[in-house]
Symmetry: C2
Subunit: 311 residues, 2 copies
């Protein structure tokens, strides 16, 4: 059995990868995520697409180890999802259903956790076994890898890094309903919020006052030496650096890998995060490395394949 599938189910498309078991990606493609009627077509579509692609490649089903899959919801170790608003699913035994539909062994995980596993296997965390992944996008996602495996937790909600409380005195609520979550300061939207707060404070000239404020605009301005932007990035880095020091004291990672849209700013991010991390870090965690994610949108399919191969 030399082949496997790595599948990343999103709200609009399903990314699919056909891998050799040594990690070589042979083919990747996308299908639409049909969320109508409670998402009833999603798993049959996946099974049919996987089967058709095997025929194209003249690979027999008996040569396939199975399917690893990430879905945008907490998933427990039995591959059961309780609720996924953005796929239309309620309670769903995803693993069992896809095993029946496809005839293959299936392992299912949370998409953010699975992407973290992908980055550890073939991306920014390559060569490490203990890793924190932080995905700075519209929200802050994450995954914790311990001794090569995803930290899943009791109900599949392990690694919810974006909802670590980092500011007890915040007054505006996070999307989760609580206040002071890391997501409110380190996501793309959080950075815009920090920027608007800073710009309102006084009249310091800034290129950010000209156009639409975005996380990208902030870090572009930082690279031009814009003082207000540097202060905004500093606040972002302080919250994220402190949060990472607290995550590290619990999980003792070798490396943190930073991905998501905000990470496109590049290495300059670390200038704002690392000093705060070092200020706060417990002595045993001071050697933690920082790296950027490398797989982009493919992290999910790589990680899904690895999730299966780990079993």
């Amino acid at each position: 059995m030399n082949y496997c599938f790595g599948i990343d189910v999103g709200g609009t498309t399903v990314k699919m990868g056909l891998f050799r078991n040594d990690g070589e990606l042979l083919d990747k493609w996308e299908i639409k995520t049909r969320t109508e009627n409670g998402g009833e077509a999603i798993l049959p579509d996946i099974a049919a697409s996987a089967s058709a692609r095997l025929e194209q490649h003249r690979i027999k089903p008996e040569e396939v180890l199975g399917i690893g899959m990430g879905v945008p919801a907490p998933v427990n170790l039995e591959g059961v999802v309780k609720d996924t608003a953005n796929l239309g699913w309620g309670y769903k035994e995803v693993r069992r259903e896809l095993e029946e539909l496809s005839g293959f062994k299936v392992i299912v995980g949370n998409d953010a956790n699975v992407a973290a596993l992908g980055e550890m296997w073939k991306g920014g965390g390559k060569g490490h076994q203990n890793m924190i992944m932080v995905t700075l996008g519209t929200g802050v996602g994450g995954g914790i890898i311990i001794n090569g495996s995803v930290l899943v937790g009791e109900g599949g909600a392990g690694g919810e890094i974006g909802h670590l409380t980092v500011n007890d005195s915040e007054t505006e609520p996070c999307g989760c309903g609580r206040k002071g979550c890391l997501e409110e300061y380190a996501s793309a939207t959080g950075i815009v919020r920090l920027a608007n707060r800073r710009l309102k404070k006084d009249n310091l000239p800034s290129v950010l006052r000209a156009g639409k404020v975005s996380a990208k605009a902030v870090f572009d301005a930082v690279k031009e030496g814009d003082q207000a932007a540097i202060e905004i990035a500093g606040e972002f880095g302080r919250y994220l650096g402190n949060a990472l020091s607290n995550i590290a004291v619990l999980v003792d990672p070798a490396i943190v890998v930073i991905g998501g849209g905000v990470s496109k700013a590049g290495d300059i991010l670390f200038q704002f995060i690392e000093p705060h991390f070092q200020d706060w870090a417990f002595f045993a965690n001071k050697n933690m490395k920082f790296a950027l994610a490398e797989l982009g949108n493919d992290a999910g399919i790589y990680g899904a394949a690895k999730l299966l191969l780990n079993k």
Copy 2:
């Protein structure tokens, strides 16, 4: 192979247990921890004592699965310790050395993490696979159990719950040199510090003003309805409850087990911790249970045996 040893190495005594592999403790005893000369006698003493006890019980070495052992230091997955001030050891390949001395398979872990595993196996966390253990003693120790295994981390420093930063504005340093660690508020000494701060604030009458302030005195006074003591316990509970909400968002545990000297106050502790936990908890963590540790000083030998049996 029906038997195993669970051993808990402390700075003054080594606690030793002989178990049946189903978890029944057949015999327990202690030997002195001889820390002189770089602690060179510690492992030979352990091997000799284990061997002698087997003879007493007429158990043959080939009936023994091996030795699980907890030591008061970070231990990596290879059973290597980098430094242990209180045993006299520097870099030491504990697992390899004890395997050579005893002839048995050996698995070594950090003592606090191992005690957590013991409480999960046979104590307050029985029946669960995802657990946080918090030991409120002179310091705050801890252990995180994920899917039935100890979270060890890269260098063996996983689960250092006592050094989670919970107060950015603390001015007094923790023993670790940083400021605002959970240990400064939730350990027995931390509670005394909180008490002294509170008593100095005004002249509110309190039974705590009569004798020597201790964590026990604070919770005894709480039970008598002493207002100052209730406020002190409230502050302790707020820090610990908030810290637990942040640990939970990362590791998604089923249960937290609270042990150590402070836990002798009993269930009343939860009245001060749980409301704060619930206030701050991420929605996915709100069902986390609270329990008291049950094994006392035997948690270490039980957990050490389980550490071996898990392999």
